[in-house]
Symmetry: C2
């Protein structure tokens, strides 16, 4: 691989989040889909981030990215305030309400990739407007494997743009309710099949604490979630899952159904650390040893066939 070319490029949001759970509240926590995905991918691959922050973005956060080994040459710093989101979780720690969204510098974000990024073999189009996802994809020279994430907002508001992106990706991740919304089908297996007919060879349905389902060209795979001792903050769990999965895949010579399933296991394990702590803390404190120990524990729990 060429010097300076990341194995994986991730685009998405970078924000300062104010999060309220039934237990605690923290203001201006480093967040955003890129932050979670890159912090999770870095265990497995050299990852380059694409995102935008304002001049108010604390230097300590940029130092954190670099300390984690994330390539930040694709991070734009623009005059103005950083994107901010605030939300409150209901007592179940799963459903949440958005209290406020300040787009700030994110409103005019047009992701421009450093030249080395355009040569990267893998791309994760994190959860941002489909038009921006497409703009990133257009700059990639010949990516080997492209994954995209999305959310209900884009399904409802920019459906044509989203459909155009979905047609061009190898893998799409959605949570269960988004899969139902996108396809109008209640049954998840049927919903996944309908998404596959829209383009992607791989469809990943995320079910939170219930694990994830993969529809691939040869059939279905079921990936268990690691049962955490205590759920503290589910923010970014899906981004961490997708980031770790893509990081894992970046290290594989061949990307087929088996490799994608193994990557999802890595995603499931890394995401379990993310939700056990507040914000990015679980991911920044984690190391490969911790991941491997929990991966083995999850394998033992799932060894239920005689």
């Amino acid at each position: 691989m060429r010097r300076g070319v990341p194995a994986l490029v991730v685009v998405g949001s970078i924000g300062l989040d104010t999060i309220e759970t039934p237990e605690t509240r923290r203001a201006d926590v480093l967040g955003g889909s890129v932050s979670y995905a890159c912090s999770a991918a870095r265990f497995f691959a050299r990852v380059g981030m694409v995102g935008v922050v304002g001049t108010d973005f604390p230097a300590a956060h940029r130092r954190l990215y670099r300390r984690l080994g994330i390539d930040t040459t694709g991070l734009q710093i623009v005059e103005g305030r950083t994107f901010r989101w605030s939300g409150v979780y209901e007592p179940d720690f799963i459903n949440r309400r958005t209290l406020s969204t300040e787009l700030n510098v994110f409103a005019d974000f047009m992701p421009e990739l450093p030249p080395a990024y355009c040569e990267a073999p893998l791309v994760l189009l994190g959860n941002i407007a489909p038009a921006l996802q497409r703009h990133v994809l257009d700059q990639m020279r010949a990516p080997r494997f492209v994954a995209a994430d999305t959310m209900d907002l884009w399904i409802r508001t920019t459906r044509a743009d989203l459909d155009a992106v979905i047609r061009r990706v190898d893998l799409l991740t959605l949570n269960d309710s988004e899969a139902r919304l996108l396809t109008g089908r209640h049954d998840l297996k049927e919903a996944a099949k309908a998404v596959r007919r829209m383009g992607p060879r791989y469809v990943v349905i995320k079910k939170g604490e219930h694990g994830a389902m993969l529809l691939h060209p040869d059939g279905l795979s079921l990936i268990p979630a690691f049962p955490v001792d205590r759920l503290r903050d589910p923010t970014g769990a899906g981004d961490a899952f997708a980031g770790a999965m893509m990081g894992w895949l970046a290290g594989r010579r061949r990307i087929g159904p088996e490799a994608v399933a193994h990557g999802m296991v890595a995603g499931s394990v890394v995401a379990s650390f993310a939700v056990e702590s507040f914000g990015l803390d679980g991911l920044t404190r984690l190391d490969r040893g911790g991941i491997e120990t929990r991966r083995r524990a999850l394998r033992a729990m799932a060894s239920v066939f005689g």
Copy 2:
């Protein structure tokens, strides 16, 4: 084993159900926890049923039990009408409302076991009033392994009786919301641990389409659900699951965490056939070959660890 002694005794309700799903409605369908559990257990073990019906109970239903190889010597036929339940499923095919319950002959049911049943090594105390479950347990001479199922009604209304039963069983099955109701803990792993402190060595949390979790003396096991093509009627899924699990265990020399997990896989597979068809139809049409084919398919779907 003594001649005429079933390997597994199951007690529970027998009813004529009127079920309305978003797709269809059928009246006076053979149902009840004993019907589902025995129809599922019979693939793996000689099973004896304990239950009560009225004189209006169609002879064809009794013949069906016998055709399935179920021992009906513990089936009481009492002057009066059979227990009737009617319910309607919401569009998600999961949540349901009870429209009416007619206890009829079930109101005065006092389960008396045929002498041969008292020698049975395994007992499944299906979902009936805890006082009746205890009455069955008191008649068993020296059961090797006792499992009980329960529901929100008994947790809310007869808690002391239920606690007394829970103390005496080896395994308790509950669905996720019941586990939370019983223990006051939201997190399922914590809830399962709290149930274990109440007595049972094994706690099985059923999560419907999301599979099941087993807390055992050595830790946790995660059992996937088979993703069905089309959910038609979830009635009796939990009973079929427990029946198949206990039938499977009846054939095991040693019952430990591994055997219970394997039994739960059998339960998961058999229950998937139950919910694909209306009422008992999926279970009565099923054969061992069908179970084994689907067990292998589920194992392949769950083979996601490198």
